[in-house]
Symmetry: C2
Subunit: 232 residues, 2 copies
């Protein structure tokens, strides 16, 4: 057969591919229950879709084994993530949305099939490399760079860091950060760390001073750019 047309992935399939991609990056192996949980479908539904994706050559799956994306599936997923993150960045930088408002919209816009639309966004923004939450934007070939930030919970008193990304971009967490005026790029100086509960006192924006719980610190990814005292 010469004229076999390769069917485009449906919106549903695209969401599964993206979920597999994101879960694999966050947790390593992806099993059916995690996938079902992430997409809020039943396990039989996830099971059945994984078989469909395997038939399409996007993943490998053996009964009772974790699901693994093929290079093809990984690229498909990365290109959807690219559209998602370009959209989020466009909404924030060109349309005035807050970083807590853009995920839901991008969840829909990422399924638009119009490469010129996203190329134009990219061009208008000057080819950004990260989204509004600090996550890297895959390139047109689906390659994604590993930014290797440290969690703020690993920082030591005396160190100065820059808030570079988040490991949680939920609306609730973003709204918490808004209420503290914590934005990406903020310089934080670690004043002290409480041994009992691992909470950290930081100063930032010249005068402000805040106590951040361990829960929060874990979700803040930072670049450690200067160390005045790393003895403790």
């Amino acid at each position: 057969m010469i004229n076999q047309i390769v069917q485009m992935a449906s919106t549903t399939e695209e969401n599964y591919l993206k979920a597999l991609f994101n879960l694999a990056n966050e947790r390593g192996e992806v099993n059916i229950s995690e996938l079902a949980n992430q997409l809020e479908v039943s396990m039989p539904t996830a099971n059945s879709m994984v078989k469909t994706l395997q038939k399409a050559g996007s993943c490998i799956y053996e009964k009772y084994k974790p699901v693994v994306l093929t290079p093809k599936g990984k690229k498909e997923a990365a290109l959807i993530v690219r559209k998602h993150r370009l959209t989020e960045m466009f909404l924030v930088t060109k349309m005035g949305f807050g970083w807590e408002e853009v995920h839901e919209i991008a969840e829909q816009v990422e399924h638009i099939h119009a490469s010129k639309f996203f190329e134009r966004m990219d061009e208008m923004m000057g080819y950004p490399t990260v989204d509004p939450h600090g996550s890297p934007i895959p390139d047109k070939q689906g390659r994604i760079q590993d930014l290797q930030f440290k969690s703020l919970s690993e920082a030591k008193p005396g160190q100065e860091v820059i808030l570079a990304a988040l490991s949680d971009s939920s609306t609730e967490f973003l709204e918490y950060l808004n209420s503290r005026k914590l934005t990406l790029g903020t310089e934080l100086k670690i004043i002290s760390k409480e041994a009992f509960d691992q909470s950290i006192v930081v100063s930032f924006l010249d005068s402000e001073k805040e106590t951040l719980s361990q829960k929060v610190c874990e979700k803040l990814l930072v670049k450690i750019f200067e160390s005045k005292d790393s003895s403790q």
Copy 2:
């Protein structure tokens, strides 16, 4: 039953609603074969979807009779058209697309459920009332104004007109207009009209002179803004 949730129209249903709305505006009555033809589906498919839309309260349908949108269906359709036309205008005025490139993208973007996204577009553009092809943009209540332009084929020699809208926005026609540098807002002076084939010679942009076939003239909607000689 107090807690009956009213299901949102699917993308498919939205496309049917829009087709019914557009066909009704262009041709008056809408029958199943026109609808099927417009959406490139079989007649049984269109027939079945019309029954579905009736169950949802969006249209009225009796066997062998034309399909009629209810006020509810008309509003639903108009709000999708609003999203479509706002998107087209945004793509042209804010993202640098040509008027011949935007329809296909808008056909997808119109199905995004995020009112703030479209409100923001609207605001950024200063609340435009027409799309890049001169078609009116329905307001937030789904009301649409009737602009009542005349076709250029009705204009008489000596008259001066402004190109205000198109009754055909196909890529092919738009590319034809591009090749002639005919854009909305262009002032045209009707030099003469050939009785044999109804073609019209116009002058515009100071020096240019063009012969436009009847076929083209019919698709050009104009505002007649001055009449130096309407005797013929």
